[in-house]
């Protein structure tokens, strides 16, 4: 009975593995539990054990090649067994496995169990298929017969209650025709909804519920102040409360930032900067022409851009398997708007003059507040700056906007006494904190960038040198 060896899930976040080294070659005898290969996962290199006994008849991926979970990578069988059918299936399966297939295969320790949510070809979804009940292969007691070939099946992720299948990006939407029409008319994005029908189908009442939510979100200050009555708390003496549904913006912010601070290994570098010269420069520029109205933040943007050009490892982004280094510094400028936050981008800030930056930021911020920004205007920054100094914050740490590698949090400028040449003098001090993605930027790299940034900002003449 042949065993199809599949790429196992060796860590909770593993989605594919790179075959680092085969420990056995074709023709070798293997037995259950013996390590047969080393696999590079997202975390480390791990050993993969054989789940069947016999001879390693065929190896289907080479060292250095990558396969997604569940792809057949080898076949163990009796020496004289005919495996041509399996090999053919496996090789065609490799192409089909490029599609989204998710499995939980727990390798090691006596057996693999697979949870698959299948769409039964008749189109009928039973409760089991929706919930992804464990399907065992042609079992019997022998571990060699447990792993199923699933290359021909499209599967969907099974969630705990089987109803969130239609949510999430990239998944197929299941919607009743009526609900689809209602959503289109109401301008509701179906991907933000969870369907309550069979198989996660979005139906009329889901749209009706969403429309309720939308109508409650109309940004009218009057409504917010009045309408929602406070509810009495459950706990005696605790505060009364009211619940408001999250706006689309807030949901987006929540979703985006959860994928930032969680997975991205942040570290933080703080620097205290003497802003006297920058402040003076600003004053004198604005004197030249009252129309100009350059702000400190505009100067910070320009200086950051200049420093980024000198430190390309910071003007970078982590892609799937590579680091992307950008040619220009597209600076995302955090703008607070009603009920939220958005980061319009000043493209190629290193090449723009201060007056260009100032007017662009003003224009973008205004359109941000009136929600008229186009997606290409708030996506694709290479670095972000958030300034809470005007709101009296001394210093703070910001969350990186993926896929950028860093963000600069700027605090307030305050006159403080400092020691210079043994004397106590007053300087305008401003603390900035840079959050860095440790996968892209190491401590020293970040520190050097910040040094450059500080140097230029404290001596703005460097901008034209």
């Amino acid at each position: 009975m042949a065993t199809q060896v599949v790429m196992p899930k060796l860590s909770p976040t593993m989605e594919e593995g790179q075959l680092a080294r085969w420990l056995k070659k074709e023709g070798d005898k293997v037995s259950v539990g013996e390590p047969i290969a080393e696999v590079d996962t997202d975390k480390a290199t791990m050993e993969m054990q054989a789940l069947g006994t016999g001879v390693l008849r065929k190896i289907l991926i080479k060292e250095g090649e990558t396969a997604p979970l569940g792809q057949i990578i080898a076949i163990i069988a009796e020496p004289d067994e005919d495996i041509s059918g399996l090999v053919g299936k496996a090789e065609s399966g490799q192409a089909e496995n490029k599609e989204r297939i998710e499995h939980k295969v727990e390798a090691g320790g006596g057996g693999a169990e697979q949870e698959l949510a299948q769409v039964v070809p008749g189109g009928e979804r039973t409760q089991e298929t929706v919930k992804g009940a464990p399907l065992r292969g042609d079992t019997g007691g022998a571990p060699s017969s447990q792993i199923q070939d699933n290359s021909a099946q499209e599967s969907r992720e099974a969630s705990g209650n089987g109803s969130s299948i239609s949510a999430g990006e990239g998944r197929r939407l299941i919607v009743s025709p009526l609900a689809a029409r209602m959503a289109a008319d109401a301008g509701i994005n179906l991907r933000t909804l969870t369907g309550s029908g069979p198989g996660g189908r979005i139906v009329k009442k889901d749209i009706e519920a969403a429309m309720q939510t939308v109508s409650q979100q109309q940004p009218q200050a009057v409504r917010a102040a009045e309408a929602h009555a406070y509810q009495q708390p459950q706990v005696q003496g605790a505060s009364a409360y009211r619940d408001e549904p999250m706006t689309q913006m807030r949901q987006t912010i929540a979703r985006r930032l959860t994928t930032s601070l969680g997975p991205i290994p942040h570290f933080f570098l703080t620097s205290e900067i003497e802003m006297d010269q920058a402040a003076e420069m600003r004053r004198r520029i604005n004197e030249l022409d009252p129309q100009l109205k350059i702000s400190i933040n505009d100067i910070i943007i320009k200086v950051a851009a200049a420093a980024l050009i000198q430190h390309p490892q910071v003007n970078a982004s982590l892609q799937e398997r590579s680091l992307r280094y950008y040619e220009s510094a597209d600076i995302g400028v955090a703008v607070a708007i009603e009920d939220g936050l958005i980061t319009p981008v000043v493209r190629a800030a290193e090449r723009k003059t201060l007056s260009q930056i100032a007017s662009e930021v003003r224009e973008l911020a205004e359109r941000a507040r009136s929600r008229k920004l186009r997606p290409e205007e708030y996506t694709g920054a290479t670095f972000s700056i958030s300034n809470l100094g005007t709101l009296g914050i001394d210093e703070f740490t910001a969350v990186i906007n993926p896929p950028e590698a860093a963000i600069l949090a700027v605090g307030a400028m305050t006159p403080k006494p400092v020691v210079r040449d043994g004397e106590i003098v007053v300087r305008q001090l401003m603390r900035v904190t840079m959050s860095c993605d440790h996968r892209v930027i190491d401590g020293a790299t970040g520190a050097r960038f910040l040094q450059t940034f500080k140097r230029i900002l404290e001596n703005p003449l460097y901008l034209i040198v």
Binding site: A180, R181, S196, G197
Partner: protein, 322 residues
């Protein structure tokens, strides 16, 4: 129901002397189900004619009579026996007008009970409406109340086309209000909204109409408001009424005693999917008779036909209530 049909026959025979009846036991015996009771006495043996047990023969005789200007009403003791006569019904009655370029009209009515009765088993319980509705040239009518039966039979007799008029043995004893007016007719090709509602549409015919109405009452108690539609004429079908209802309720259950495959329910499903696709919140749900020859055993016979419980469950299903 049987009295209503009897009245219709009497009134039409009085109104038009070319109308005559023929079938097994329609005269002396007063009708196998007493639908033709008293008509031999009233109209004589030239107009109420007992036939031998020769369905193909007397169906053909009827077609011939129609071709020369008479208006026959041919009774099949049940439509199961009409199967023998289908060559005359389909190849002659349905097509003669078309094939003769309109030179012959066939104003014939074939009537009798259709579908299940009480433990008459496989060969005597067949619901054949989709068979006849299949052929262009035939009209197919299925009343579900005494008033509908009378009004539709009168229309059928007055219609110059061959009409297959399908009654239901189990319903002959059903009672209902029937208008006295001799000119009371119900036009063919018009559906009836037997009950108005807004949450789901149940399309039923003949035997399943009273069942659907009972189910609707049950569902009303559960907070679901059902609209029950009886097409009354299967062909030509009043699809407009049905579609308007679907647009209102967004969900459909079809309840029929016939087999599912290629049944009238299948035709309705296709029409609804084509014309009301964007209004459907759930797939059309067909509740048909079991896809087996009708069993003899009483309990199995009951199971083989969608009952009130099954209709209620189906409506709840399309309303996503469970």
């Amino acid at each position: 129901m049987r009295e209503a049909l009897n009245q219709a026959l009497r009134e039409e025979m009085n109104r038009d002397e070319t109308v005559f009846l023929m079938g097994e036991e329609v005269a002396e015996y007063q009708g196998a189900y007493k639908v033709t009771k008293g008509l031999l006495e009233e109209f004589g043996d030239k107009r109420v004619i007992d036939s031998p047990i020769t369905e193909l023969g007397f169906a053909g005789l009827g077609v011939g009579a129609a071709m020369v200007g008479l208006r026959p009403v041919i009774e099949f003791m049940t439509f199961n026996f009409s199967i023998l006569a289908t060559d005359q019904i389909i190849n002659s009655a349905a097509k003669m007008r078309y094939m003769s370029g309109g030179q012959f009209k066939i104003p014939i009515v074939f009537r009798g009970p259709n579908g299940s009765a009480f433990q008459v088993s496989s060969q005597h319980s067949q619901a054949l409406e989709s068979w006849y509705a299949y052929f262009p040239g035939l009209k197919v009518v299925m009343p579900s109340t005494p008033a509908d039966a009378k009004g539709l039979l009168k229309s059928a007799i007055r219609d110059d086309n061959p009409v297959i008029f399908m009654e239901q043995e189990r319903m002959y004893g059903n009672k209902g209000e029937v208008p006295d007016d001799e000119d009371f007719i119900i036009p063919l090709g018009v559906a009836d909204v037997k009950r108005e509602g807004k949450d789901a549409t149940i399309i039923a015919r003949s035997l399943t109409v009273p069942l659907a109405l009972k189910a609707a009452e049950e569902l009303e108690k559960q907070g679901v408001s059902c609209e029950v539609i009886d097409p009354r004429t299967i062909r030509p079908l009043d699809i407009e009424t049905i579609i308007n209802s679907v647009k209102k309720t967004n969900r459909v259950v079809i309840a029929e005693e016939s087999h599912p495959f290629c049944g009238v329910g299948a035709e309705l499903s296709a029409e609804i999917a084509e014309r009301a696709f964007d209004f459907l919140d759930a797939p059309v749900r067909r509740l048909s008779g079991a896809d087996v020859p009708m069993p003899y055993a009483k309990n199995l016979e009951k199971e083989a036909i969608p009952g009130v419980d099954k209709i209620v469950a189906a409506v709840r299903e399309v309303a996503y209530l469970d």
